[in-house]
């Protein structure tokens, strides 16, 4: 790109930044304080950590749709990869022996850490997303160490695992529809329901996040003629 358009674009964004900084520094007092409202309603949510309560109870609809968006992204990656549907990539070289020993040592610990984060999300920082990230990292580590079987990606149980989280959440969200309200958990069962939903979410999101890495297009694919 020539220099003058480059300078022009940079100047435009510098002006934008200056305008936004001026706006932020002159903001009026906030009209609504949601932090206080969450604290007041925390007792009815079934968990004692406010962020988990917001994610899975007060704004559960957003989390439900987010799970669907992640599945759509995985479908997009699978479509773009252009290989045999659902197969994993081949490793470009044999992994080092040290990496294999390290992966064998560390992956049970990662599963344990993911389980703890999942359970701790109800009363401490943690929850389904963090647990799913650690679990997905464990799966990717096993793949990079060459310890995942090559046909691990194309079974129907894998597809069941990917869909389970979304379907459990959808079922538990739609069940109270008889009483006229989506996602209205009964207050005395809210804690147990949230834990059940989070377990399903952890499994599905871990498989989805690992699948986003494992199903990227390969460099060994056949060239189109």
């Amino acid at each position: 790109m020539k220099l003058l358009p480059r300078l022009g674009v940079t100047a435009v964004f510098a002006v934008l930044a200056a305008v936004l900084v001026h706006a932020v520094l002159n903001l009026p007092e906030p009209a609504v304080r949601l932090g206080g409202a969450v604290d007041k309603a925390l007792g009815q949510s079934g968990v004692s950590h406010p962020v988990t309560a917001v994610l899975l109870n007060f704004r559960g609809y957003d989390t439900l749709l987010e799970t669907a968006v992640l599945l759509l992204a995985l479908i997009g990656v699978l479509t773009a990869s252009g290989q045999v549907p659902g197969s994993m990539r081949r490793l470009p070289s044999t992994p080092h022996a040290f990496l294999q020993s390290l992966a064998r040592l560390v992956s049970p610990l990662m599963v344990l850490a993911a389980g703890y984060l999942l359970w701790a999300g109800s009363h401490r920082p943690g929850g389904a997303f963090q647990a799913a990230a650690v679990l997905a990292a464990g799966i990717i580590l096993l793949y990079l160490a060459g310890l995942l079987p090559a046909n691990a990606a194309s079974t129907s149980s894998l597809r069941a695992g990917l869909l389970a989280g979304f379907l459990i959440f959808l079922a538990l969200a739609a069940a109270p529809l008889r009483n006229g309200a989506l996602l209205q958990y009964p207050v005395e069962m809210a804690g147990a329901l949230i834990l059940l939903i989070e377990s399903g979410l952890t499994l599905s999101l871990a498989l989805t996040l690992a699948g986003l890495f494992l199903c990227l297009p390969d460099e060994f694919e056949e060239e189109d003629d």
Binding site: M1, T63, A73
Partner: protein
């Protein structure tokens, strides 16, 4: 100046830098990195402005948590498309536009 306000201002600067990078960088990998920087800047503005009085706002934190996970899904999809383009065209740049015949 509370941490919320300071990090909101940082988020504005990051957003501007990221947006300039998305437009100006020719290499697709750099565009994707700039897009992520832009997203992180926007998240800082969200949480920073909500907490500019010094409290802790759980709703904006939950929204940004959702945003972080969705942005990595978008990054993965963008990388899949960029790699497909690399496999087919040999480089990670948009093909040069040819004049219409």
């Amino acid at each position: 100046m509370t941490p919320g306000l300071l990090f909101a201002l940082t988020g504005i600067a990051l957003f501007a830098c990221g947006a300039a990078g998305v437009i100006l960088a020719p290499h697709l990998l750099r565009k994707i990195i700039s897009f992520n920087v832009m997203g992180s800047g926007a998240f800082l503005v969200l949480v920073g402005l909500a907490q500019r009085d010094g409290g802790v706002d759980a709703v904006s934190q939950a929204m940004v948590l959702t945003g972080i996970v969705v942005s990595i899904a978008a990054t993965a999809l963008a990388l899949a498309l960029a790699r497909r383009l690399l496999n087919q065209c040999g480089e990670m740049r948009f093909p040069a536009e040819t004049p219409d015949d």
